[in-house]
């Protein structure tokens, strides 16, 4: 056979396989408002940059008449490509082929591209759209999941791993996204749960829809399993691309620096934070008054809003921001916000991203539900994450820093490199009201007019302790600065800290309070 005909045969074979589950299945996929696996990859990657592998892989299942079934590409597309010119490895499950179910060869394709990503030190992006394990392949299918989870774990902190949930992702399958760095979900399309509504109905007799159980909103607002929420697949891919601009290829490189830009003049840093510590404000406005171009990329925006985390650039370089949010629950720390904060700090530390902490919190959230939900163990995660992180750590105390919250939020004691405080900062063991009630309890009780005495003592305490100078006198705060100096001083500190080198005692790994 002449080469020309052989090439024609290749083209024919390719065409056949690329149809996936065929026209009918593709129609069904579209009817569900979903794109096909290859359309998704095309939308995510730079034009014509995708190179597919393992197109001709076939399953090897023999039981239950599977040997008579042809499953193109075994229900998953893998390959490499670029986003803004930077290489990435991608896999996308193809729901049109046997519901994207995961069999042995399907898993082997995914693990192949995962191995490749780790070896080449490039980010891995996985698009999940699968009915789950291919039951006909039995334990081989389970083995496949296990191999994926193992690689997710081994690659964690080495290469960025991103999961995109664009369809069902149920049962054991959800653990792969859970092990990755960032999870993206899309309204009405993403569905994640360990046991679905059917099982819950049979076992518990409780009825719930898929959307209410594990839809995109649930995971972005209630569980915290998702990091980014989008209303459409298109918006979701735009979010992924934007994220990619902030993070490095791997843990041995830095995120690409961009052209430095000043914050927008609309954000006036000295007019955002009210003097009265009881008045709220949106800490995102403070971040926007500090970062390049006022461009702040928030993560987990809709979950545990009492802490705000995300990326921004300082003179072109990516920084991670961890900030108390007085606008939500007065900015307290609680179970969820501790979890959110600690994980983000560890992400930044793993990928050489300096951490800027903006502090304004009254302490931990009081409550029986919090105590019983283990706020001790969850709160400890923040202490662990800050203490352990060796990237540059810069802290600005904007206003309140009371009690355990002061220690937790990137304090000097957890080895922040630089701690700055605004003149309105109140660094104390607790708020003046609470402190005065305890310290002057006797005087207040025995006074002729207890209420008057209480007020007087609160004022006394405020005068003496509710300021940054007690901490500055001890050197716990390096400089008390004017709000308008913040960006300039932070830029200087980042520059000084860029060659930071520290080390702790030798160990295999710590035992963090997961």
């Amino acid at each position: 056979m002449p080469l020309k005909r052989k090439i024609q045969e290749l083209k024919k074979r390719r065409e056949e396989v690329i149809k996936g589950g065929g026209d009918k299945a593709i129609e069904k996929q579209m009817a569900m408002g979903k794109m096909t696996a290859r359309e998704r990859i095309r939308m995510l990657l730079d034009d014509n940059s995708f190179q597919e592998y393992d197109l001709f892989v076939e399953h090897e299942a023999r039981d239950f008449d599977m040997d008579k079934k042809v499953l193109h590409g075994d229900g998953v597309v893998i390959g490499t490509g670029t986003i803004y010119g930077e290489s990435v490895c991608v896999f996308a499950q193809d729901f049109t082929v046997a519901g994207g179910s995961l069999g042995a060869m399907h898993a082997r394709k995914i693990t192949k591209i995962m191995d490749h990503a780790l070896k080449m030190r490039v980010p891995l992006i996985g698009i999940n759209d699968s009915g789950g394990a291919r039951i006909q392949e039995g334990v081989n299918s389970l083995a496949g999941y296990g191999e994926i989870f193992f690689r997710n774990t081994i690659s964690s902190g080495v290469i960025p791993q991103i999961s995109v949930i664009l369809g069902p992702c149920a049962g054991g399958a959800v653990y792969s996204p859970a092990l990755t760095d960032f999870v993206f979900v899309v309204e009405n399309i993403s569905k994640m749960f360990i046991t679905g509504p059917e099982v819950i109905k049979t076992v518990l007799g409780e009825e719930i829809s898929m959307e209410d159980l594990g839809g995109a909103r649930v995971h972005s607002e209630i569980t915290g399993n998702a990091h980014f929420f989008a209303e459409s697949e298109k918006e979701c891919f735009e979010q992924i691309k934007k994220l990619m601009t902030f993070i490095p290829r791997s843990n041995d490189s830095k995120a690409k620096a961009l052209e430095p830009k000043n914050p927008k003049p609309a954000y006036k840093i000295d007019r955002i934070v009210p003097g009265d510590p009881k008045q709220p404000y949106d800490v995102r406005d403070v971040i926007k008054s500090i970062v390049d171009n006022s461009d702040f990329f928030e993560i987990q925006e809709n979950w545990a809003g009492n802490v705000v985390i995300g990326f921004g650039r300082m003179q072109g370089e990516t920084c991670g921001f961890v900030c108390n949010q007085p606008l939500v629950l007065a900015g307290v720390l609680d179970v969820d916000s501790s979890d959110k904060t600690a994980r983000f700090i560890r992400y930044c530390d793993a990928f050489n991203i300096p951490i800027i902490t903006l502090v304004d919190l009254p302490g931990y959230l009081p409550g029986i539900d919090q105590e019983h939900a283990g706020v001790i163990r969850h709160g400890a995660k923040i202490l662990y994450a800050y203490s352990e992180a060796t990237v540059p750590k810069l802290t600005v105390i904007l206003r309140k820093a009371y009690g355990g919250g002061y220690i937790a939020m990137g304090s000097r004691h957890l080895r922040a490199d630089f701690v700055f405080a605004w003149p309105g900062a109140e660094i104390a063991v607790m708020g003046p009201e609470g402190a005065a009630n305890i310290i002057f309890r006797k005087e207040i009780m025995e006074a002729a007019n207890p209420e008057k005495m209480r007020k007087q003592k609160v004022e006394e305490y405020k005068e003496r302790f509710a300021n940054p100078y007690v901490a500055a006198a001890k050197g716990y705060v390096d400089s008390v600065i004017e709000p308008s100096e913040t960006r300039k001083i932070l830029l200087h500190a980042i520059d000084v800290a860029k060659t930071k080198s520290v080390g702790g005692p030798k160990k295999k790994h710590g035992v963090p309070p997961f």
Binding site: P277, K278, D282, G305, A330, M430, G431, G434
Partner: protein, 125 residues
Amino acid sequence: MVKDKTKNKSNSDDNSKEELCGKKIKCKTLIIHGTKYKTTLTKKYENRKKWEKPDEKKIVSYIPGTIIELFVKEGQTVKKGDKLLILEAMKMQNIIYNSCDGVLKSVNIKVGERIPKNFLMIEYK
């Protein structure tokens, strides 16, 4: 960190609107260590369940399931460690033992009955 004798409670009756950087936001009050903060509350916080002390005189199902066997009747005197019933749940037959000496005031279950979680199965006098 330090004991605080003032009671912590949140009021949600304060519905004042705050103007923040051009945005109007409905604020509520949250009291922490005696200080009233103006802030917004999360849905999770507002919908949190009130804690109730578990009543030792009530035996409540800790998991939904089916009553497979029932070893006791109403009015019966029981001793600590006696078998009360078998509750099958998640493909497991769980034997429920008696935790204290006493007399049973009521038995609200029958063999073969399917019950939800937190169902009051047996009550002591």
